[in-house]
């Protein structure tokens, strides 16, 4: 079963070093993704989820670790460590959708040029007509009016721009898409449109998503599995429903309890976290979460908890994971 994956992230580290300090943005993250799945990555700002996403697509270079991609033919590549020629062929398989629909589109290029650019870079021999055909196909697929392709981004609303960003990511027919807060900057009603679009496209093109977001209800809706990050570490990784029903890491529990629920009849008892997220340049000893954890014991202060597979496919990094009975959401039957 272990071999049934499309992407395997192994012990990924990313350390940002400046003159005086080094900050570990991502520490020892590992997980697998199956084809056609959606993995949600949640956490608060500064937890390293965006860095993780960018390391996976090689927008920035990871310090250590492997990202193994299994192509359709079953061949495995370490995406972070391959020669240039193979890279050229493989790069297009993993693409990204960005958070800010304003800064992610070059304001000086027409939408046609923006969507066409990946094609020009990867298929230099493709004829102009063929490229434009493909751009039109993909634009229609993401719900852009193809007669607007000659327009510049400034003529589009946030939601439409995000569709352009999706089209640009899809035009190379990738296998995996990293969505970095892809709907966070959009209005609620537009968010729903884009989420529905992403799901439709997933079904149609058998896409695999890594969906990075701080919005837990969106993640719960779209993901099959969820990873929770805290201070650069993945503290819990599990099937979505299992995790939301019964979290096993105290941080996940606190995070879930803080989610605002759009129903005034439900009153949730919130778990108040003391203090702030520690400075990643100077993390606490032992478990990174121990200072704010209400279940903290002496062991937590000294020993770093290892990621443990509690049940198949369910990983938790907490010394007390097995003994604690934490509270999650109630699911309708």
């Amino acid at each position: 079963m272990a071999e049934d994956y499309i992407l395997k992230v192994e012990n990924l580290h990313k350390t940002f070093t400046s003159k005086k300090i080094s900050v570990r943005a991502v520490t020892d993250v590992s997980f697998n993704i199956k084809k056609g799945e959606t993995i949600g990555i949640v956490g608060e700002s500064g937890c390293g989820k965006t860095t993780l996403g960018r390391c996976i697509v090689r927008g920035i270079e990871a310090t250590e670790g492997k990202v193994i991609y299994k192509s359709l033919h079953g061949k495995e590549y370490d995406f972070l460590n391959i020669d240039k020629k193979t890279m050229k062929n493989i790069r297009k398989e993993i693409q990204m959708i960005f958070q800010d629909p304003y800064s992610s589109l070059n304001p000086r290029m027409t939408v046609l040029d923006i969507i066409k650019e990946p094609l020009r870079a990867n298929f230099p021999k493709m004829s102009k007509n063929e490229m434009e055909e493909r751009v039109k196909d993909i634009a229609a697929k993401v719900g852009l009016n193809t007669s607007y392709l000659m327009r510049y981004p400034h003529a589009f609303s946030g939601g439409q721009r995000q569709r352009v960003g999706i089209a640009r990511a899809l035009v190379l027919k990738p296998q995996i898409i990293v969505c970095d807060e892809a709907v966070s900057a959009l209005d609620v009603s537009i968010q729903a449109q884009v989420i529905n679009l992403l799901r439709d496209l997933q079904k149609e093109m058998q896409l695999t998503y890594i969906f990075i977001s701080h919005d837990l209800s969106v993640v719960e809706h779209i993901s099959d599995k969820v990873g929770v990050m805290y201070l650069g570490k993945m503290v819990e990784f599990a099937n979505t429903e299992e995790m939301f029903k019964r979290p096993m890491h105290p941080y996940t529990e606190a995070l879930l309890s803080a989610v605002p629920v759009a129903d005034p009849s439900i009153k949730i008892e919130r778990i108040a976290l003391d203090g702030e997220i520690p400075n990643p340049a100077n993390p606490p000893s032992g478990c990174y979460f121990h200072e704010r954890c209400r279940y903290c014991i002496s062991k937590c202060r000294t020993d770093v908890p290892e990621q443990e597979e509690i049940s198949p496919g369910r990983f938790v990094a907490c010394h007390r994971a097995k003994e604690l009975d934490l509270r999650g959401f109630e699911y309708e039957e």
């Binding site: 609620v188 719960e220 629920v261 759009a262 702030e276």
Partner: protein, 359 residues
């Protein structure tokens, strides 16, 4: 004169009447707020919900007279002031002494970005103190004492030390607390909170909302809570007004809005938020299309193009107004099935037919 007497001084702290905002741009005048009426009761929290560009922020800034120069406010905003009695805020000179006396003292505001709401050049204490010194006391020691007390109240630990720190030494959540302290230090009667938690992480957001509720109980103030996030509204507000394209389309007590939404836009908004724990619905309910530009709007309901219940020949021809359907619930939709709405619709239809007949 009818409007002046209409403000119920015992109950309402603020009454907004037929309020409009025009924005002059190079391309012409945009009416961004197109005639809204609402009121805020003493001690209650009114949520003003809508998507970007619906005019919710313009409305709140107009209350304090801090919109940019290109924005022109029309209509009335009556405020029950301690110093001035009943006063129309729209009529005040935005640079005048009167409005400056009200700003910060009787009505104050917190913004979305705590980082840009403080000047990086002064200590936090200094900036909180500024408000105290301006409105309460000129005595330095006394005003510092008042500021420190408020900082303690908003849950800032170690206030003596924090008082002398600069904004960059605060984290986002702490800074938002300091901002709240600054807004509340003069114990205002009305707090305008413009997306106060949008920029914060969920766990911090929950803390800040709790804090605001606590302080509200303690100080007995009213809050106008502006947000696009229906989740926070549900936990925070007593009543909710939903805005779309510069108009209030529905206003009701919070339980009523969530359990019995009448306007198609409200329904859409609530439907498009996924509730954790619901059995996996395959697709989210979504409102198609995008918000039209507030320029050269066609007559009729602003939501017409995107509406599922639209009635051709009626919704795109006649202006629709808020109709009370009981239980403090008002909705502005011809397609609503309530008796009062049906009556309103019949009346408008009769007028329309009459016009045609006349032509």
């Amino acid at each position: 004169m009818e409007s002046v007497t209409a403000i119920n001084k015992k109950e309402h702290i603020l009454e907004v009447k037929d309020f409009k905002v025009n924005i002059r741009t190079d391309e012409g005048i945009i009416t961004a707020v197109r005639g809204i009426d609402f009121n805020i009761k003493k001690g209650e929290t009114l949520g003003l919900v809508g998507e970007s560009g619906c005019g919710k922020s313009l409305t709140s800034k107009a209350i304090l007279g801090i919109n940019e120069k290109i924005c022109e406010s029309l209509g009335n905003i009556f405020f029950d002031s301690n110093d001035y009695g009943l006063i129309d805020l729209v009529s005040l000179n935005p640079k005048g002494k009167d409005i400056r006396n009200i700003r910060g003292k009787e009505i104050s505001m917190i913004f979305q970005e705590p980082m840009v709401s403080f000047s990086p050049m002064y200590t936090i204490g200094n900036q909180i103190n500024e408000c105290t010194r301006l409105h309460i006391t000129k005595d330095k020691a006394k005003s510092k004492e008042i500021s420190l007390e408020m900082m303690r109240k908003v849950g800032i630990a170690n206030v003596e030390k924090r008082y002398n720190q600069y904004p960059h030494e605060f984290s986002g959540g702490m800074l938002q607390r300091a901002l709240i302290a600054m807004a509340l230090v003069c114990r205002p009667k009305l707090l305008l909170a413009d997306e106060p938690t949008t920029a914060l992480d969920v766990t911090i957001q929950a803390q800040i909302l709790e804090l605001m509720k606590e302080l509200q109980r303690e100080l007995g103030m009213s809050i106008l809570f502006i947000t696009h996030d229906l989740g926070t509204v549900a936990g925070m507000c007593d009543r909710v007004a939903v805005m779309y394209l510069g108009k209030i389309v529905e206003i009701a007590p919070v339980e009523e809005i969530y359990q019995n939404p009448k306007h198609p836009y409200t329904k859409g908004l609530i439907g498009s938020v996924h509730k954790i724990g619901n059995k996996k619905e395959e697709r989210l309910f979504s409102i198609e299309g995008t918000v039209p530009l507030a320029m050269n709007l066609p007559p009729g309901c602003g939501f017409y193009e995107r509406c599922e219940d639209r009635i051709e020949g009626l919704c795109n021809r006649a202006e629709v107004d808020l109709v009370s359907i009981g239980n403090e619930h008002e909705v502005s939709c011809f397609a609503c099935d309530h008796e009062a709405c049906k009556a309103f619709r019949a009346k408008v239809e009769a007028e329309l037919d009459g016009n045609i007949g006349g032509n």
